[in-house]
């Protein structure tokens, strides 16, 4: 076998970031946005997206300065060996819990829309096992997998948007900008975490073939994401109205359920879309688990990322079972994002950026 199984191109970086972010978030996003600012949800989403692009820029700057060190390596370089390792541990926990949360939310939706009588554990377990299998194989097979499913995902999104148009009444969107800055500022938190996932960029930097083009690729991915989110939110609002959207658990799915396609062979698309949604979730989980394995590898000082995931498989499974019901789990999800989520996605990159300004250009290890 030939070596060099660990370099990814600029296009692949974009695909990776896009599919990592796109997960279960889009299913609940319209509801959480409507809860915060009602009709202005889509504007909030754009603002949050722009802020995230800023963070991505900071991450890329740090990454460009220390392209070969890796996430934990850079932390160690900036904060010293011991402090760097300690700072990496919440990140590691974040990846584990976030992946588990993603699995759980998917399991719950699958139970509602697809497999009503199958136990939740049986839905989640194969998904976790399959994710571990792919995440173990290394970055190149992972991005190849992502590239292969990209056409399917684009097709699904396209169908989703097309169906959403059916029965849309755009007058439901009015009035615009009826909220003051304060309520936007309050709502920004949940809007920001709809974009969670781009922190994988921190981890994959050593594998990027052209680190200076990483920002361009991620920017493209972010822009497409903002577009996808905004279209989803706008369509949900125009079908249901913002008031009704707040009452729905999974407004995106309900939107598909509500509209029937005249003259189509397939009568109820939501079943098929939910089945294909596995791909959206799967790519997110794989990416998170891979990040987890890389961080864990560097923290422990083990040479192979492969071996680590098998050890963590039971923990991911157990973490995904936290919470009795979907309400409990949402609360736990909130807790997760406001603490270690906030730390990993925003605080740590900004800290790293500030410190890297003072550090002389990074030498390789």
């Amino acid at each position: 076998m030939q070596k060099g199984n660990d370099k990814i191109s600029t296009y692949q970086v974009g695909v990776l970031i896009y599919l990592t972010i796109l997960g279960v978030g889009i299913l609940t996003l319209p509801a959480s946005m409507a809860k915060e600012v009602e009709n202005d949800g889509w504007i909030l989403s754009i603002i949050a997206g722009l802020i995230c692009i800023g963070i991505v820029y900071i991450m890329c700057k740090v990454g460009e300065k220390f392209p070969q060190n890796g996430f934990v390596g850079t932390l160690k370089l900036l904060f010293g060996n011991i402090l760097g390792t300690i700072l990496a541990i919440p990140t590691f926990l974040y990846f584990l819990l976030f992946a588990a949360l993603e699995v759980r939310i998917f399991g719950e939706t699958a139970k509602i829309f697809l497999l009503n009588r199958t136990p939740l554990e049986q839905i989640m377990l194969p998904l976790i096992v399959l994710s571990v299998i792919l995440a173990r194989l290394g970055i190149e097979p992972i991005v190849r997998f992502f590239e292969t499913v990209t056409p399917v995902i684009v097709f699904v999104l396209f169908i989703l948007f097309l169906i959403g148009l059916n029965g849309a009444d755009f007058s439901n969107l009015k009035p615009f900008l009826s909220h003051d800055i304060l309520s936007f500022a309050k709502g920004i938190k949940s809007a920001l975490f709809a974009y969670a996932g781009f922190e994988a960029l921190l981890i994959i930097f050593p594998f990027i073939k052209e680190p200076n083009k990483a920002f361009k690729a991620s920017l493209g991915a972010m822009v497409f994401l903002i577009i996808a989110y905004v279209i989803t939110i706008i369509e949900c609002y125009s079908v249901f109205g913002a008031q009704l959207t707040t009452k729905l658990m999974y407004p995106t799915m309900s939107m598909i359920k509500a509209s029937d396609i005249p003259g189509a062979f397939i009568e109820r698309v939501e079943g098929i879309l939910e089945a294909l949604w596995v791909l959206f979730v799967y790519t997110t989980i794989v990416s998170l688990l891979y990040s987890l394995s890389v961080v864990a590898k560097d923290v422990i000082g083990h040479s192979e990322a492969k071996h680590i995931l098998v050890i963590f498989l039971p923990f991911i499974y157990l973490a995904s079972l936290i919470g009795e019901s979907i309400i409990d789990m949402m609360k736990y999800g909130d807790l997760l994002t406001t603490t270690i989520g906030l730390y990993t996605i925003f605080i740590l990159p900004i800290l790293m950026y500030i410190l890297s300004r003072f550090k002389k250009a990074g030498g390789s290890r």
């Binding site: 030939q2 839905i123 299998i133 194989l137 590239e147 292969t148 294909l276």
Partner: protein, 515 residues
């Protein structure tokens, strides 16, 4: 523990040819004891007082006419009639016969018994001359061969009709006829401790990625088996993952396919006694392409390629979708259809999964029986299978008519995939998906597809990712891929994913690329 092949006649052991012809005769006859198909002939050059000459060949593998007219006749008869007479050049008779006497084009010299015996066993004739420690080996290979015929497994409507045969020389000639380039190399090897099968490695020196050739040679050299009977043996040694469902080496019966592959920077491998050539590296897209694609008009071909991908999807998914929809989510299809399916399934005593497994296994049985049966009886299988089993099974209420339709469509779809090995792989994937669909419904199908896709993403054929050019995505290679084929005018570059040394295929208008 390393096992060794217990075989005395190993290539390393060489017995030098002695000056005494009788010694040589004894050692040859010793080696070929009880090989009754070997013919020995002893005679003298230059009458009674001349020198002893001994030749031997394998009956049926050497050309007797050539031996009689152009070897024996000049040496035995004509040598006495011409100047210089035998008496004058008595001592240089070996040189003389080599240079002047025999009117045959191809002969070699050998200085040991084993090599000459090996040559004779390949169809050549060896000649020993008394007093000389070298043997003349004349190329007299002439054995029963099948002529060039139309390949049976890869038929085309438009395109050349010649297919490979069992003779490696004819096969290399068929390819060479299409590549008149001195940089087109045909490297030969012999593999198989006992069988000594000829293997030819073909590539164009300034296009191919040298790493691929080196890897092929490395893998071929590591083979240490007693016999190679078919290219299938070699194929399994070349594959990195021989237990994978998917073939990582392409096989073809058509010289034009090999030539096209070699022009793209791939490596072709021919094996004696096998009409199937091997091509490496290969990607999944290549298995969905027929040679005809490159000869017909591009729009039509692109349509057919889309059709083939669809067929691939149907061949993999149809029965499992049937299971998933009927037993898990009947709400997906229109109510009327769901009702009519339910109505036809009313009398069926089995769950959809068992029903599908019964019919799919029947289909596999029919297919296998159809291949094995002698041709005159073969057609009855169609009647028995299609009419009797299909019709009767429905009337007996074992399966529903919709299931018969699903199976029939699956079968037709899987036959329209150009490559037999890939469609065989798809058949197995189909069964895996059926099992998963019976457990998890649509979710199971997606999980199963993910499983297969993970495997495909991880698969490499000689360093080239199996799913290239889709993953990793290569824009310029999309012009000739799963679903499109641009007209030749626009395909300016060779496929990049094979990493050819020389990427430019034709001098073309750069502006034409985007059109």
């Amino acid at each position: 523990m390393k096992r060794e092949i217990l075989y005395e006649y190993i290539p390393n052991k060489k017995t030098p040819i002695s000056n005494m012809i009788d010694d040589n005769i004894v050692s040859v006859k010793n080696l070929l004891k009880d090989c009754d198909d070997v013919v020995y002939r002893q005679f003298k050059i230059g009458g009674d007082k001349g020198r002893d000459v001994f030749l031997f060949y394998v009956d049926g593998m050497a050309e007797k006419d050539l031996l009689n007219n152009f070897v024996l006749k000049p040496l035995m008869l004509m040598a006495r009639m011409v100047d210089p007479t035998f008496e004058e050049i008595k001592d240089e008779i070996y040189e003389a016969s080599k240079v002047a006497a025999m009117s045959v084009t191809d002969f070699k010299e050998s200085d040991n018994i084993e090599d000459s015996v090996l040559a004779v066993l390949s169809g050549d004739t060896a000649i020993f001359v008394d007093g000389e420690n070298k043997a003349l080996v004349i190329a007299t290979k002439f054995f029963p061969v099948r002529g060039v015929q139309e390949p049976t497994a890869e038929t085309v409507i438009r395109g050349s009709r010649d297919g490979f045969t069992e003779t490696i020389r004819m096969n290399t000639a068929l390819v060479r006829r299409r590549i008149r380039d001195p940089r087109f190399k045909i490297k030969q090897k012999q593999i198989g401790v006992r069988s000594k099968t000829d293997i030819a490695i073909m590539y164009i020196d300034d296009i191919v990625d040298k790493q691929i050739v080196d890897e092929v040679i490395k893998k071929l050299d590591s083979i240490n088996i007693d016999a190679i009977l078919d290219s299938g043996y070699i194929q399994q040694y070349l594959e990195d993952r021989p237990l994978s469902l998917f073939p990582q080496v392409q096989t073809t019966e058509r010289p034009d396919v090999v030539a096209a592959a070699v022009y793209e920077g791939r490596v072709g491998i021919l094996v004696d006694n096998s009409p199937f050539a091997l091509i490496v590296p290969v990607t999944l897209t290549a298995f969905f392409q027929s040679p005809e694609d490159y000869y017909s008009r591009s729009i039509v071909v692109s349509f057919v390629r889309v059709l083939r991908v669809l067929c691939g999807a149907i061949a993999i998914l149809a029965p499992s979708l049937y299971i998933a929809i009927t037993s898990f989510s009947p709400g997906i299809i229109p109510t009327k259809l769901a009702l009519s399916i339910a109505a036809t399934r009313e009398g069926v005593p089995f769950p959809a999964f068992i029903e599908a497994i019964i019919m799919e296994l029947t289909l596999e049985l029919l297919r296998e029986a159809g291949v094995r049966l002698p041709r005159p009886i073969g057609s009855t299988i169609g009647i028995v299978g299609g009419l009797v089993i299909g019709q009767a099974a429905v009337s007996a209420g074992i399966v529903s008519p919709i299931m018969v339709i699903v199976v029939a469509i699956t079968a037709i779809a899987s036959f329209s995939i150009p490559n037999y090995e890939v469609s065989a792989a798809f058949r197995l994937v189909r069964f895996i998906l059926m099992v998963l669909a019976s457990i998890y419904g649509l979710y199971g199908i997606v999980l199963g597809s993910i499983m297969v896709l993970i495997h495909l993403c991880n698969l490499k054929s000689f360093g080239v990712p199996f799913l290239a050019p889709i993953a990793p995505f290569e824009f310029s290679d999309i012009k000739d891929s799963l679903i499109v084929r641009m007209p030749w005018k626009y395909m300016i570059k060779r496929p990049k994913h094979i990493k050819p040394k020389d990427e430019i295929r034709q001098v073309g208008d750069e502006n034409a690329e985007g059109q």
